[in-house]
Amino acid sequence: MAAWGLVTGVAMVNVGLELLPALGMTFVVYSGTSQLTVLPLLAAGTGVLAMTAAAAVANLRFVVYSALMSRHLRRLPLALRLGTGFWTIDAAVAAFLQQQQEGPLVQRVAFLNGANALIAAVWCVSSVVGIALAAVLPLGAELAYIGLLALFGITVPLLAGRPAWAAAAASVAVALAGADWPHRLGTFAAVVAGVAAALWAGRGRAAP
């Protein structure tokens, strides 16, 4: 997460964003997916609405996450639901599913928001460091790839059970086929394919 934050911070400055807009992107948008999607479009002079539409498509996997988390969060007050949902991202959902699916509601929400707080702190601090030191940091593809390896490392413990393996196979196949699709549509298609494969692989099994 820190590596991704650094890389995103540096990328924002390299595209030409000044300090305040770059900080706005980091703290207000709070979405590496949106930021990394719009930065090349911003550099190319694309219109605001087109960039927003591209970010909306790139964020579709979070709609799936919100459906997944709704069982856990739907009894919370609206403001807390919105706040928790806004800063819940991939790694927090993955950690939540691994560690804290059962137990009292307050415990589950505390775990999720604890994970969210940690991730948000790391993301924001590393992004700010990237923004501040963009001119002097010797950052390249190497650091970005190590950040990607960190994300890959999160997935490995999630590979347990037939539905998970089916989802992984389907997701990887669709992601590779759709790697060149615009606006990260391939990622969304891969998520849908993965969920569909898990549904197929888990059919006839009782819910735990």
């Binding site: 807009p21 599913l97 993965g194």
Partner: protein, 121 residues
């Protein structure tokens, strides 16, 4: 970059709205719209599917070029074995499966990746 300062802040506001809507859509819909049963179970793999969809294409990104430049089985096998991205991911996978520690896996993957890059010059 041709966007004005105002346009930039409008963009930031719209992106924040997009983020909020995407991440909270099902949290504000009425209960009858919430997923249930088998669908809810299947949705649990969504983070796994998303993270793999983001990472795997990047892991194998250089393979087509490397394989095209290495005709024959032996050269292809060597190209596969010495691809820094693939080797690092496999090292990470192996270490995490053995130790159940993602951080150890990341350290191993990063070491293999940087080591192979250094060897390649």
């Amino acid at each position: 970059m041709s966007l004005s300062a105002t346009g930039l802040w409008v963009l930031i506001g719209l992106l924040a709205a997009v983020t909020l809507v995407a991440r909270t859509l099902f949290l504000v819909l009425p209960p009858r719209w919430q997923p249930r049963g088998a669908v809810e179970q299947a949705l649990r793999v969504a983070p796994l599917a998303a993270l793999l969809a983001i990472t795997v294409p990047e892991i194998v990104r250089d393979l087509p070029l490397r394989l095209a430049a290495a005709p024959g089985w032996g050269a292809s096998a060597l190209a596969l074995a010495t691809d820094p991205r693939l080797a690092a991911a496999l090292a990470l996978l192996l270490v995490v499966r053995l130790t159940r520690q993602s951080l150890c896996g990341l350290a191993a993957g990063a070491a293999v990746y940087l080591g192979l890059l250094a060897l390649a010059g």
